[in-house]
């Protein structure tokens, strides 16, 4: 694959570090700081937090959400949104579970991924070629995927997946849970795609300035189809990990995951306006959300307070860098 050392790089600042301009670097540092601050606070308040088994536990909780948000991150980087990730996750989960429990494990996995990819492709075609705003195109897909899943399942829940399949959700490779390894692998692959390939550079360029991207002769439409297809594919991939973990599949599986997935992307520093951010940030965002739940459970925060506490921590973790960030940006630009 060609390494993108071309025009895109020239436009960035000369003082790059790890391929990041100073303001970008700042966002990354501040998000990691928020994460670390949260960890320190929890370690101070509860002795059960800073244990190896709890750290593994939190990482494992973050993994399914991250996988779902990872593909979504690419879409958000182009300045779009994919509202269908939860519904596609649900549909793929049902198809996979149904085929796997009927004795076709390989076919089940392939079919689920194919369904996710197809939903994503359709989204991409609608956005790139039919010029439908991504919010509407993927909102339509949300209902279509939900509808297909309803028809397919008819209110049924599928239980009892085979043990070999469940390894991807519940297994361990040495001390590390398999979903965490999958998460790390995904971060590396997508990070390389975003920062070391022409496709990746193109994704940032489209999000940063779509007109300029088009005028520079970039195949904008094809790249858009690619990112939506990846988002669908990653959602169906997340579905496999989720059903392997819960040992059950039903239509509404992904429903309540949509907003947390978008939140994970934003918490990780990816701008909803496109062009800024990355998958490593999304991993940080997923971890923050998993940490908040872990912390509330360990501290025994009362049921009725939990929703409010979650909201406050989300706001605090982004507000800090907005305040400091503004000052720094004023200095550098």
């Amino acid at each position: 694959m060609t390494v993108g050392t071309g025009t895109a790089r020239v436009t960035l600042s000369q003082r790059e570090f790890l391929g990041l301009s100073p303001d970008r670097l700042f966002v990354v540092v501040s998000r990691v700081t928020a994460l670390v601050a949260l960890c320190v606070a929890l370690a101070v308040f509860t002795p059960y937090f800073l244990t190896w088994s709890n750290i593994i536990n939190v990482l494992r909780h973050a993994a399914p959400l991250f996988l779902m948000s990872a593909g979504l991150t690419l879409v958000v980087l182009t300045g779009g949104i994919d509202l269908s990730v939860g519904a596609v996750l649900g549909l793929a989960a049902c198809i996979a579970a149904s085929l796997i429990t009927s004795g076709f494990p390989v076919f089940g996995v392939v079919a689920a991924l194919a369904v996710g990819l197809s939903c994503g492709l359709v989204n991409g075609l609608l956005v790139a070629y039919a010029r439908i705003p991504s919010f509407i195109a993927t909102y339509g897909m949300l209902w279509i995927a939900n509808g297909l899943a309803y028809v397919f399942m008819k209110g049924e829940v599928i239980y009892g997946l085979p043990a070999p399949f469940r390894v991807i959700g519940t297994g361990f490779a040495g001390p590390i849970p398999v979903p965490v390894l999958i998460m790390i692998g995904t971060i590396i692959v997508l990070h390389v795609v975003l920062h070391r390939t022409r496709m990746g550079r193109g994704i940032y360029a489209i999000g940063g300035n779509p007109v300029a991207a088009r005028l520079s002769g970039m195949p904008v439409q094809r790249r858009l189809v690619f990112v939506y297809a990846m988002s669908g594919l990653m959602a169906s991939f997340a579905a496999l990990v989720v059903i392997a973990r819960t040992n059950a599949a039903d239509v509404s599986l992904g429903e309540e995951q949509l907003l947390p997935a978008i939140a994970a992307v934003c918490l990780g520093g990816t701008s909803l306006f496109g062009g800024v951010g990355g998958v490593a940030g999304t991993a940080v965002g997923s971890l923050i959300l998993a940490l908040v739940l872990n912390g509330m459970n360990l501290l025994g925060v009362k049921t009725f307070w939990q929703a409010g506490v979650l909201g406050v921590i989300i706001l605090l973790s982004v507000m800090a860098d907005q305040l400091v960030g503004r000052r720094i940006n004023r200095g550098t630009t």
Binding site: T46, Y48, T51, S53, N54, N57, R60, H61, P64, W143, N146, G147, Y150, M153, K154, G155, E156, V157, Y159, G160, T170, V242, R245, T246, N247, A248, D250, V251, S252, L253, E255, E256, A290, L293, N294, M296, N297, L298, G300, T303, F304, Q306, A307
Partner: protein, 333 residues
């Protein structure tokens, strides 16, 4: 094979007087030649509980020769959509509504409109106040949880450490089930409640919450889960952590997965919360009302605990289990 459940005590409670009489002019609508139409409402088409309700209602519809129209919001448990559906159906003017609100307060104004339009309402599953209704048919969540907790605590000789996993905090069922749990805890001073945390009635969140709690509590003697879906997730988490068999887990609902877990000795007990029976009896109540019969204002289904002792005689799905007869269900305690 499972007839003995019908021998359980049947309780009918009478409340107030100001109910059910708004529809007198409509008595006798059945039997004037035209087949009656009943609009049967469910909260969603995704949860197997409402599927069981649908099957129960359709069974009754066939048996009593009425046209049954199933009305469900496409977006699960959506208040706004159910409000619209109610208004649409007031215009269509069926002979009766068999109704469950997605929110027991938010739907009151809509049902009051149906009252004004003179449509008789049979309320099932979630009780509504401030409306005129023929009757309410359901299970008493507080009593169900109280009874199953009592049976659990007795099996622990009245002492031990217990974790409570709550449902959706705002749901009336969750609030009542929690009250039942708290009442049972008061009856057994040797029972220590380690934590009470919300699991959103869903498997994955409950699993993650419980995994967090396992980090803090190395010894848990029993888990009281507000429904079976969460209970099965908790059983999975216990086994995955190598702590299976040491902790007694109870749920509510009697879903197939829980029945299987009890049969395998992984879960301690559940209590039947049969939407199928509620819906069947609710449609029957509507038919009887239309024929001019007098219906008791409140019909509560009997408590039926499923544990190791009787799990062999219990059918896997609620719809395969035998429905109590009208006389059994409405017999005075």
């Amino acid at each position: 094979m499972l007839l003995n459940r019908r021998q359980f005590a049947t309780a009918t409670m009478s409340v107030g007087a100001a109910t059910a009489l708004g529809a007198l002019p409509f008595a006798g609508a059945i039997g004037q030649g035209k087949k009656a139409t009943i609009a049967f409402f469910v909260k969603n088409v995704t949860n197997p509980f409402w599927k069981a309700c649908r099957i129960g209602a359709e069974k009754a519809g066939k048996e009593f020769n009425v046209t049954l129209e199933v009305v469900a919001p496409t977006k699960p448990d959506n208040i706004e959509e159910q409000t619209r559906l109610v208004e649409d159906w007031i215009v269509k003017k069926p002979d009766a509504f068999v109704f469950v609100p997605v929110d027991y307060k938010a739907l009151v104004p809509s049902i009051q409109k149906a009252n004004k339009a003179g449509i008789p309402i049979v309320n099932y599953n979630n009780i509504m106040t401030d409306i005129e209704k023929v009757t309410f048919i359901g299970s008493d969540d507080e009593y169900l949880e109280y009874e199953i907790c009592k049976s659990l605590f007795k099996s622990m000789n009245g002492k031990g450490k217990v974790v409570h996993i709550d449902g959706v905090p705002a749901a009336i069922t969750a609030q009542n089930r929690k009250k039942g749990f708290e009442r049972a805890v008061k009856d057994f001073p040797g029972i220590e409640v380690l934590a009470s945390q919300p699991g959103q009635y869903r498997r994955l969140p409950a699993q993650q919450v419980f995994e967090n709690l396992m980090q803090r509590f190395p010894e848990i003697d029993a888990v009281v889960s507000a429904n079976d879906d969460m209970a099965v997730g908790i059983v999975e988490a216990l086994h995955a952590a190598g702590r299976g068999g040491k902790t007694k887990v109870i749920g509510i609902d009697g879903i197939p997965d829980a029945i299987q877990a009890i049969a395998e000795g992984k879960m301690y007990a559940t209590v039947d919360f049969s939407g199928h029976d509620q819906a069947y009896l609710a449609v029957q109540a509507a038919v009887r009302h239309l024929k001019g019969e007098k219906i008791p204002p409140l019909v509560m289904l009997p408590v039926f605990i499923i544990d190791k002792g009787n799990v062999g005689t219990v059918a896997r799905t609620p719809e395969e289990r035998k429905v109590p007869s009208w006389e059994q269900a409405t017999r005075k305690a």
